[in-house]
């Protein structure tokens, strides 16, 4: 019986995470349009519901009801497979993100369940995310090739080349973090940044490299060359329509949210915030052990979402601020600037751990 209960809880958590991810992705589209409108001194969507809040639902309905056609020259199955792969790889990463601390539940007196607010805490969580990111290129490549359209193919090749170029610097930036934490589990990394002891203060250079690579991996402006509309019409999704186009666009917004969540858990302490111990003590004092812990977890989760949504907003802010790179600039930045910088960052981190850390520890004693 115990296995069944555990399985049911797991299934509920998985469905909840899917729901939250999809909801945030949906409202990111609304947010993007509102932010764009604000920056361009417009109003933005305001017809569907109050302040246009139902606009994402209207868009979803449109995606379902629009006619979908597969070009006669395309290879049919690969054409369908492309957006599905894109969506799948986007959804897969949210499994290992720690959304919050844990929820305690007393089923019987003395028997307390301690359920972490996360689908699964994998021992090699970061490597899993990194692996899935490296799969992300297939959705675009398959779709672009299958369309049998010159614009799509060019977009697909650009996307593949760009993603692999920035993957290396991303990995090197992650390695600098791992040298400090010594663990690949994202939950461990978050727990080590207890309170205000965030990694950003130790890894400012690594953070800049990581966020640049995150922009490139999500194909967001200024790295949106695979789909830049002034050169390639729609890039890899030129031929797509209806739900399949929806998948491609949706995958981009899910990727944005997931990478924002990764940034906030790796560099900005995830669900940790300064003064959390004090808040926790107050809560357990006034509400009791279990209820206080749960309310504390809720506050932590809200903090986590606030951080992540700030970075989603940052993506939009950058999109409407910076112009697009030229392809040679993009390649130069990736290979000739970010990779050497990331390597220097690793060496600096190694030196700091071996040399500065004992010095500071002995100084504090």
């Amino acid at each position: 019986m115990t296995i069944d209960v555990a399985l049911i809880i797991k299934a509920i958590i998985i469905l909840l995470i899917f729901g939250i991810t999809l909801l945030i992705a949906m409202y990111s589209t609304y947010g993007e349009r509102k932010v764009a409108a604000f920056m361009q001194d417009r109003i933005g969507p305001n017809r569907a519901g109050p302040f246009g809040l139902l606009q994402p639902l209207a868009d979803a309905v449109k995606m379902f009801f629009k006619e979908d056609f597969i070009p006669s020259q395309a290879s049919k199955w690969l054409f369908i497979l492309g957006p599905c792969l894109s969506m799948l790889t986007a959804l897969m990463t949210s499994a290992v993100i720690p959304f919050g601390d844990s929820v305690k539940y007393e089923s019987a007196p003395g028997k307390v369940w301690d359920i972490p607010v996360q689908a699964i805490d994998v021992n090699i969580g970061i490597l899993y995310v990194f692996g899935v990111v490296s799969l992300g290129v297939y959705g675009i490549m398959v779709g672009g090739w299958a369309s049998n359209n010159k614009f799509s193919l060019l977009g697909a090749i650009r996307a593949a080349s760009q993603n692999i170029s920035y993957e290396i610097s991303m990995g090197l930036a992650i390695i600098a973090i791992l040298m400090m934490t010594g663990s690949l589990s994202i939950r461990h990394i978050v727990e080590q940044q207890h309170g205000g002891n965030w990694n950003i203060f130790y890894q400012p250079l690594g953070f800049v490299i990581f966020i640049t690579c995150a922009f490139a991996e999500c194909n967001r402006t200024p790295f949106d060359l695979p789909e830049c509309e002034t050169e390639l019409i729609g890039g890899y999704h030129t031929e797509y329509s209806s739900m399949k186009l929806g998948f491609y666009l949706f995958a981009e917004y899910i990727n944005m949210f997931v990478s924002s969540a990764m940034i906030s858990s790796l560099y900005f302490g995830g669900y940790n915030y300064p003064g959390m111990d004090w808040v926790q003590a107050q809560l357990t004092g006034s509400l009791g052990e279990i209820a206080g812990h749960n309310v504390g977890t809720l506050i932590g989760t809200l903090v986590f979402f606030a951080k992540s949504l700030f970075f989603v907003f940052f993506y939009m802010w950058v999109r409407w601020t910076l112009p697009r790179f030229r392809y040679d600039q993009l390649m130069n930045l990736g290979w000739k600037a970010l990779i050497p910088l990331a390597m220097i960052n690793i060496i600096l981190t190694g030196g700091a751990i071996l040399f500065l850390k004992p010095l500071i520890v002995s100084f504090l004693k």
């Binding site: 797991k10 299934a11 998985i14 899917f18 379902f64 009801f65 629009k66 006619e67 979908d68 056609f69 070009p71 006669s72 020259q73 369908i80 599905c84 969506m87 799948l88 959804l91 897969m92 499994a95 689908a119 699964i120 805490d121 021992n123 490597l127 090739w145 369309s147 049998n148 359209n149 010159k150 614009f151 193919l153 060019l154 090749i157 593949a160 080349s161 692999i164 993957e167 290396i168 990995g171 600098a176 791992l178 040298m179 400090m180 010594g182 663990s183 019409i233 031929e239 998948f247 030229r326 040679d328 390649m331 130069n332 290979w335 000739k336 990779i339 050497p340 060496i347 190694g350 071996l354």
Partner: protein, 176 residues
Amino acid sequence: MRTLIDFVQRIFKTNMVSEFGTIFLFIVTAIVLIVSMLMLAKLLRPHKPNVEKLTTYESGEDPIGNANVQFNVRFYVVALVFLLFEVELVFLFPWAVVFGQATLIQQTDGLWGWFSLVEMLIFVGILVLGLAYAWAKGYLDWVRPQPKVPVIETKVPANLYQKVNEKYGRPSVNEK
């Protein structure tokens, strides 16, 4: 064979595989979600294709040839260089995890940290040589687009506007 299956079964009960089992469950749920969305959309939407709709889009022109354009070999070279750096990265991950381990440093009186750092520097240094080679040979240089300025044959000299501007001064927005 029997022992092998027993072995696999025992592993499946341990932590690691049940972790990946949950991930497998997650992936299966995602696939079910995607397929059901596609199916639902297929039921709801109209389907009235015609020849015009189904042609490949090429800015309103009839497409010439198919999309098999031979592209620049540089994409291939970049993918090659990437592959080798990816292998290097995979070697770096286990190193990074054990590098700062306090117990190992204590056991070796602090030698471990320096030893592993130097080893890693040699390894990375060898690969940086590779990057430097590719860089110096120009394999990483992309072709820079040269803007083509159209030359128009006209009787008005090209620098006429410049002269006019200099003579009368450019109207400034700030001047009232």
